[in-house]
């Protein structure tokens, strides 16, 4: 039964749904047993006890975007790598050379980003 193809994927879907049910259910039960005493000050964003200053949706450093962009490139590479690793033995030398060319392109990109200072945080 467990080796059945559709069963496996249905199990994954059911698992993710049950996961949400589990979290919301536990929070609901916890809501029933807890003592509630809410006043406006308790609902303000936590800022070490002083009244919150300014908007929390503050602009943040552009570094995060650069690393996210670099990540996308390497993640696409990972998507390529998995099927390649799977059929590597049947592909033989051609597959190896092709992947090395791909690696070289990636490394050139990484070195370019490195040289441009994209990998420096501050």
């Amino acid at each position: 039964m467990t080796s059945d193809y559709t069963y496996s994927y249905l199990a994954v879907v059911a698992m993710s749904l049950l996961d949400i049910v589990f979290v919301v259910g536990i929070l609901g039960v916890s809501r029933l047993v807890q003592r509630r005493h809410i006043y406006p000050e308790k609902l303000t964003p936590y800022e070490c006890g002083i009244p919150p200053v300014g908007d929390s949706r503050a602009p943040f450093a552009v570094r995060y975007y650069i690393f996210a962009l670099l990540f996308v490139i390497f993640d696409v590479e990972a998507v390529f790598l998995f099927p390649w690793a799977l059929v590597f033995r049947t592909l033989g030398g051609t597959g190896f050379v092709e992947m090395m060319i791909f690696f070289a392109v990636l490394l050139v990109g990484l070195i370019y980003a490195w040289g441009k200072g994209a990998l420096e945080w501050v």
Partner: protein, 379 residues
């Protein structure tokens, strides 16, 4: 044939098992961590509740369960609610493909490795949602740091998982365990195993890579606004569940999974998970926190080129000796580790010194130009 009842009867045990693994890890490991950490710091740790403090996690859980559940007025209500559920998807769903014994896997997907990587990425989403939905500056910065760090360290992690697929020629975790019958991949490819451990510790935001939760500057990072049971989800179930599942995946990929000396049983998997978790606790009490620039450059300038090199060389060996590539791979891997240990300290000392001097020079310049040595707010 009633398909739905059939499906439920065969699926529910798996769901309960997954839940039990998460719950057990959330009970055992935080307690173990506090106690072992305490001994490593030459103090006692929690020892009051029950014999040797064994009931401490239950007391903590009960306390958090009856605590008031507050949603801040400015938070995004639904995202704030759904963030723990999204983050819990990772530990719940990744263990679906982990083989517990030679004939039991909760759902035996034939693309196990890709699934592991794909579902593993959900934890970033959960943390980012939590950080953004809280509408709190600490949470936002913590969430962003977590995202930056986790996506950076995901690449070396994926590259080393690919390496295991390369060694086996299969993406099914059952086949991977089967391929380690004679020798563990952790022995053939120790370099990959060590990078997997380092990248995993960063991926899980544990010390020394715990910048997203740096309590001295960010209070508690992305879960600052979470209290009561929601905090328990983040602090116990999700964090330690992730540690457990990552250790399970690591022991399946590199340490032979449920295979062990004398007898094969899920017990060996539990033992290996326990040992890997103890190593993490050991890291916790040994290392100070890294700086964020050191953290990011370690991922991009050291781990990623090293992993790429490792994949290239190992695939070359497989091409050259299709039958017995284990020995050359092991020689390469062990010798590169030795080389790394010999060379890394002197190289890193030089690089850090150069960076410090450069930083000092720029700081002097800005002091001269603007009259102050301080920059703006940096996150």
């Amino acid at each position: 044939m009633s398909g739905v009842t059939d499906f439920l009867t065969s699926f529910l045990p798996g769901f309960l098992l997954a839940l039990a693994v998460i719950a057990a890890s959330a009970v055992v490991f935080p307690f173990l961590m506090r106690r072992v950490w305490g001994f490593m710091c030459d103090r006692l740790g929690p020892n009051r509740v029950g014999p040797q403090g064994l009931l401490q996690p239950f007391a903590d859980g009960l306390k958090l369960f009856v605590k008031e559940d507050v949603t801040p007025s400015q938070a995004h209500k639904y995202l704030f609610l759904i963030a723990p559920a999204v983050a819990l998807i990772t530990p719940m769903l990744t263990q679906v493909v982990i083989p517990f014994s030679d004939n039991y896997t909760i759902a035996n997907l034939n693309i196990g490795l890709i699934y592991l990587v794909a579902v593993g990425a959900f934890s970033v989403l959960g943390i980012l949602i939590a950080g953004w939905a809280s509408n709190n500056k600490y949470s936002l910065v913590g969430g962003l740091r977590a995202a930056a760090q986790m996506i950076s360290y995901e690449i070396p992690l994926i590259l080393n998982i690919v390496l295991v697929a390369l060694l086996t020629g299969s993406l099914s975790l059952n086949m991977i365990v089967g391929a380690q019958e004679t020798v563990w991949f952790g022995v053939v490819q120790p370099l990959a195993f060590i990078i997997y451990i380092i990248a995993g510790v960063a991926e899980l935001n544990r010390t020394p890579f715990d910048l997203p939760e740096a309590e001295s500057e960010l209070v508690s990072g992305y879960n600052t606004e979470y209290g009561g049971m929601r905090f328990a989800f983040f602090a116990a179930l999700i964090e330690w569940g992730n540690v457990t599942v990552w250790a399970m995946a690591g022991s399946t990929l590199f340490l032979g999974g449920w295979r062990g000396p004398l007898f094969n049983s899920p017990l060996w998997l539990a033992v290996k998970v326990g040992i890997i978790t103890l190593v993490i606790i050991w890291f916790f009490s040994t290392f100070p926190r890294l700086q964020i620039d050191q953290l990011m450059s370690f991922a991009w300038k050291v781990l990623i080129p090293l992993s790429l090199l490792n994949v290239a060389v190992t695939s070359g060996f497989i091409l050259l000796w299709p039958e017995n590539f284990f020995l050359p791979t092991a020689i390469f891997s062990w010798s590169s580790i030795a080389l790394f240990i010999i060379l890394f300290p002197s190289v890193i000392r030089k690089v850090l010194l150069r960076n410090r001097l450069r930083l000092l020079a720029t700081r002097k310049m800005t002091t001269v130009i603007s009259g102050t040595g301080k920059g703006g707010i940096r996150s």
